[in-house]
Assembly symmetry: C2
Homo-oligomer: 406 residues x 2
């Protein structure tokens, strides 16, 4: 069965909206063993939509189609659907009742509850446009709203239809391991001699590291392959979905029952946000002081005015006092502090844009403070700072490694 995802929307094609929906859907499909063959984005244009349907359904296909059905949308998509699939639209009373129950009497609700006759409905718990599942002789099309949180809330229901209509006979195993503090070009030479028989292997760089993912029908060979990689990089690997160090650290902190507090300057809240997006982070995360100004470094963290004057906010000395402040102000087991120049301005000859001091410490132990130089945009520098700081904390807890740079 060919599986494709089609997004309809001018706002994606002009770059105002990122098509995160396709990733969310493909990820959900992949978690159940389904392989997506193509993602496509086309404009809100009736002819183009019909033409695309024609090309896609040349072969038998499960198509998941997002967007184009909101309350203010003109009838482009509906006309294209009616024309290509030879269906009519009608008001669905179940959908209308559900929406009236949630939104009261709004004139646009009738438009939103006008759906494909005889299609199966997927109720939308976070918005007004329902999902529709339509089977026909060339496969199946599932229409979903384009608003990401609404779509995400409906995916479990979508999978029920997919798994019932297209059950899989065999699902390949997949395993992944992520390596931090290493470049992609350094990894390949070290792992290329490993036996890859029966495996499909992919290598995906992220800021600060590389993820290796392997697929196989042979679970034993898969496990052996991943274990060999671990052994080649014994102090710099982690396991998590989405190659995210914060997910690995989140699990580690909960497992080890340790608490952590941050003091951030240039990362500006990104370090804290990376942890707190995970449910349950309140078990270990005490908080973060985003001391973006010197007054907050001084007043809240106790960084002395002399230190700020003599060494500057971006210095080993300031980061040391930020860590001290965290240990004094909180009961944290571990503390992380960062201060740097995210740019694009503010750099000097001695401390160019991308210079970041990162301090990581365990209570009552020597502080471990190092320096990063990362070239790139502000976004790149912040993301790299977050990944690096969390990796060092992870390494300290998981491998008891105290040296910053090794």
């Amino acid at each position: 069965m060919n599986i494709e995802i089609l997004a309809i929307g001018d706002e994606i094609l002009d770059g105002h909206t990122i098509n995160s929906n396709a990733a969310v859907i493909s990820r959900k499909l992949a978690s159940k063993g389904y392989v997506t063959n193509k993602h496509t984005v086309i404009p809100d244009c009736q002819d183009k939509i019909i033409q695309e349907f024609q090309e896609i359904f040349v072969e038998k296909t499960l198509l998941i189609c997002t967007g184009g059905l909101g309350p203010t949308e003109d009838d482009t998509t509906k006309k294209a659907i009616a024309s290509f699939f030879d269906v009519s639209f009608e008001i669905n009373n179940e959908v209308l009742t559900d929406m009236k129950h949630r939104y009261g009497d709004i004139s646009t609700l009738e438009n939103q509850s006008t759906v494909i006759k005889d299609a199966k409905m997927i109720l939308n718990p976070e918005g007004t446009a329902p999902g529709m599942v339509h089977f026909f002789d060339r496969g199946c099309v599932i229409f979903l709203p384009g608003v990401p949180n609404e779509l995400e809330a409906m995916l479990d229901q979508v999978m029920l239809y997919v798994e019932k209509a297209y059950p899989l006979s065999s699902v390949p195993f997949s395993k992944e391991v992520s390596l931090f503090n290493v470049k992609e070009s350094d990894v390949e030479p070290k792992i290329k001699t490993l036996n890859r028989k029966e495996l499909k292997v992919g290598s995906y760089p992220f800021l600060g590291g590389v993820q290796i993912r392997a697929f196989s029908q042979n679970e034993k060979k898969l496990t052996s392959y991943i274990n060999q990689i671990k052994n080649i990089f014994p102090n710099q690997y982690f396991f998590s979905d989405e190659h995210k160090i914060e997910q690995a650290l989140h699990n580690l902190l909960i497992r080890e029952k340790k608490t952590v507090a941050f003091a951030e300057s240039c990362s500006g809240g990104a370090l804290a946000a990376a942890m707190t997006k995970h449910p349950g982070s309140s078990e270990y995360f005490l908080g973060s002081v985003i001391s973006y100004s010197n007054q907050m470094k001084n007043r809240i963290l106790g960084v002395s005015k002399e230190t700020l004057d003599n060494f500057g906010a971006v210095s080993k000395e300031t980061v040391t006092e930020m860590l001290q402040g965290l240990f004094e102000q909180t009961t944290c087991d571990y503390a992380v502090a960062v201060s740097g120049i995210a740019g694009p301005t503010g750099g000097t000859k001695d401390k160019p844009v991308g210079t970041v001091y990162v301090g990581v410490a365990k209570r009552d132990n020597p502080f471990d403070i190092g320096i990063i130089y990362k070239k790139g945009s502000r976004k790149t520098i912040i993301a790299y700072t977050v990944n690096t700081a969390l990796s060092i904390l992870y390494r300290k807890i998981a491998f008891n490694k105290d040296t910053f740079n090794e």
Copy 2:
């Protein structure tokens, strides 16, 4: 000229990576008046790549192709390129020298500097894979690396080739206005009677609001249309790229020369990160105390233990003391504090998941504290909290409106 963006990568099709590159490229093209007609993602598979090239170049096309050319990638993409475009690859000494200069002597560099013979090179300032521009009788293909920060750093160079090869005769004007604290279904009835002659209008919902965008060759009609929308929603509009309230607030705070500090609980740093991602935010942003634990609310912000015991962390009383703490600890002109239940657990009957208290205050003025109830995932609740809190602050500064809910 047909313009399309093609991404090659299994990691996008299995949902591990979001195809943000397509949005970034399309946005850049749109900023210069170029319209992207299609985004496509296909697997790292030689046959599929060649088939896709064949379909795309049925008509004369400018194709921007991302991914598939990293140092550890097998030769799938290169073979497909060689076959379809009838070109050969060779080591480019300029590229090799540039990379040796930046990375030293690494064996993989030769592979990375093996490029299409006679193609124009785009040097990659943040990584190893260079960009390649190849003109032929059916148009032009530009190959770029798939790593987002590398690609972004090369886009200005890409545009130089595009604008030179395909200059535009007339570029439509576009204007946009965003409305906050309003649902898409409430906006449409109020604006549908406005004269849309000569205009193309789109409406794009985001969490907490709706963006209206209009295009026209007639700038006067465009301006008039947007002004009429402003007049219909006089206290709840803003202007910014990407329908981001934080961008509008950033500009406003700099213009008004006011400072702000935050105290966050459930938003966990997302509020601060939304502001600090903008260069220059240090002009107005003093910092944020992410008091995720009661100990930090008490120790750093001075929220009393009695208040926390009697009313709970998620209460009007706690948010009031968080605001007081900010005004005491910093010199901020404005303060924002949020405390709520982001879920998925932690809700009670009285305070279900999605309950968030938001406090916004101007120094020496009465505090303005309200409550949000937002259904949805943790991610949705956090994003909605950020948009709502920043919108209320924006309204207070821009329109001097003090009432939370009106």
